[in-house]
Symmetry: C2
Amino acid sequence: MSDALAPVLSRIDSDLEGALERLFELLRIPSISTDPANKDDCLRAANLLVSHLASLGAEAELCPTPGHPMVMGKIGSGSPHLLFYGHYDVQPVDPLALWDHDPFEPFIGEQNGEKVIRARGASDDKGQLMTFVEACRAWINEHGELPCTITFFFEGEEESGSPSLIPFMEANREKLAADIALICDTSMVSPGVPSIASQLRGMLKEEFTLKGPAMDLHSGHYGGPALNPLREISKLVASFYDEDGRVTIDGFYDGVHEVAPEQLAQWENCGFDETEYLENAGLSVAHGEKAYSTLEQQWSRPTLEINGLWGGYQGPGTKTVIPAEAHCKITCRLVGDQDPDVLRKALRAHVEARLPVDATVEWDLDLEGNPAAVMNIARPEFEAARQALSDEWNREAVFAGMGGSIPIAGYFTTILGLDSMLIGFADDDDRIHSPNEKYGLNNFHKGIRSWARILDALSKA
Amino acid sequence: MSDALAPVLSRIDSDLEGALERLFELLRIPSISTDPANKDDCLRAANLLVSHLASLGAEAELCPTPGHPMVMGKIGSGSPHLLFYGHYDVQPVDPLALWDHDPFEPFIGEQNGEKVIRARGASDDKGQLMTFVEACRAWINEHGELPCTITFFFEGEEESGSPSLIPFMEANREKLAADIALICDTSMVSPGVPSIASQLRGMLKEEFTLKGPAMDLHSGHYGGPALNPLREISKLVASFYDEDGRVTIDGFYDGVHEVAPEQLAQWENCGFDETEYLENAGLSVAHGEKAYSTLEQQWSRPTLEINGLWGGYQGPGTKTVIPAEAHCKITCRLVGDQDPDVLRKALRAHVEARLPVDATVEWDLDLEGNPAAVMNIARPEFEAARQALSDEWNREAVFAGMGGSIPIAGYFTTILGLDSMLIGFADDDDRIHSPNEKYGLNNFHKGIRSWARILDALSKA
């Protein structure tokens, strides 16, 4: 530990109440990016972050986009120059009835004897984003300046496909220039085991409407002869998988590589508790491809998941209707060299080849996909950060695969030529994207301390 | 034509405006029986019918039930004693956005050059019910009394499973005693071809929730290992059918009989226009069991239809969720001697045998099913009514199969020992249960005239 670091850590400990107050103010804003009704809320969240960066002494600015604004700010001098990314938008909260409390009225609760921060966005990603901001605040308050240069880059469309991200980055290459990017939007491989991402899954999003009869039909007059879109969409969804849990779409596994034995061995010893992971979700076994371990299913295997499926009557009682159409929302998690554009074509071809007579399909999304990302863990910053994390958590930090998709890491590489280091402090049971999201108070506290240690370590690396 | 009939028919013609006004008043009441929010509307519709029967001179009464009330009234003397059944409740109107007008603000519109009555319930069943009431009104206004005895019996729960019907009928056997029952809730086999039902399909209703993970999960953290209820419910639905459109549930076809060749020959010449029937629904081919004709698929073959299917995120944009549960609403149309109780058990066993580990199923309905009904067309009243219909429509009336389910016909037999004669004037393109329901103005007018002729014919039979 350097002489500079110790007082920063003490200050973080003594100012934890203040850090929580600032986080709660951000959590109270329902910045749901996917719902147009919350557009003003997203703007409020962005403006609050601008004021935070300004209070650190940064040149901070709100950068408009066709969607929700970006927030940028630069502070400090000297080497290295770090680009820090986080997102201030959150997932929708439905079904609201399943929340035990108002999702946007944060409070400190308890879970399994541990204190937790409860609110939508507590873990994904407002709480994580603020761990870094608060580490910088403590350092500046203690020393008057940072030990290196930092560019902050906050997005408000991460939960809705980041439509403005690529054009913005392409138009602002110089402003975003740095030596390496830091991203705080991931979880730890197991509670208390600090983790740096070694690979991330990519993402392909699709949505389609299957149309059958010209109108809703009465199942007495037409039941039998009528095409039923609910039956047909079920057959389509079922056709995506074989009995071993593999996806049957032609070419789906092109570019998927087996994990090297040495990597697998490392994963087996990374502290991942399979039983706890499954139990947290109310599961007793892993339901993915039978030929692969739970960790491989989550980190190194691609998926095709149905996120929404609907059609016909959903109200109380019975309605003897054969509906005119049915709907399906899909996301694929991609790995290795799977090409999202090729897969999109293959998925659409699979569906279109199986349409019965009188049925048509409409593809309702036209979003960019993003391929998987493999991190450059040979860079010295990775080992320096790993050491800093190990010191803070008193436990060997690990390079771990990640099941989620953080498209920004790929864009940093392709657009800015930047490597990314993804370090996050979420737990797998944080219920991100679900009712009753939480973030461990200890994760928040030690997260701030971790970033202070990493700033210290990278400044000397 | 008897001397008594001609002036009644003239009076019907001259009072058509008045009959429409009385129908429109009933159509303006949103008596949706399945939705608790419309309970008072159902009561209003029932009270309006009580006042109509009283205005005919009937002893009319509102009969409370645990659900929506029954309406009863008796009028006339002498033989025969006819029991007339109709229902004053209507189907829900969603999706409301697909209506071209307010479903409960009736008006005379036009379709294919013909005048039509537009409103929810215009065809099913308020318009049909009122054809009989108006025939009686014309007869009484002309002659001061009816040529026979009539007991009116109107229900308000037909579109929501008729939960009060059986207990009410069992408790009121004497009040409901008659020689034969008349039911006006069916359609004509083809436009302009008057039809008397020779058989009706029965009905079984089921709804289930498939539960998987303990909560909604994030498809990054859990995609792969997690059980996805949307995938599993799709596989279940797909498993209900084989490639030839047959239902695969064990024993599903027990009690289903092939139609006799002479009956099939009659159906082939009954005026059913297959192309028009399919085109009305935007279809080019029949999609039911491949081994059977379109008419057999509709009239004499059982079905298992999905009426509603839903789970996960249905809002705008994407949500990378693996939902905790999925839902499915099912109705089966039954024929021959299929036993609804046996089939319910077989359906549930089929689903439960296919549940993957970690999945559970909850059955959300517990309604009585009703078997199919075969009419006693050898009774002389059937031929008398057929002659009367042929005279009115200037076209040979037919004994036709029917795809729909009118459970009341079965209950009249089992509880009251009554045969039923089902005569209706709906067209297949009336969009009953769909947006923009209509009833041909000519069907309404000639429907009233048809009942006057039938009253005349049965009184002399």
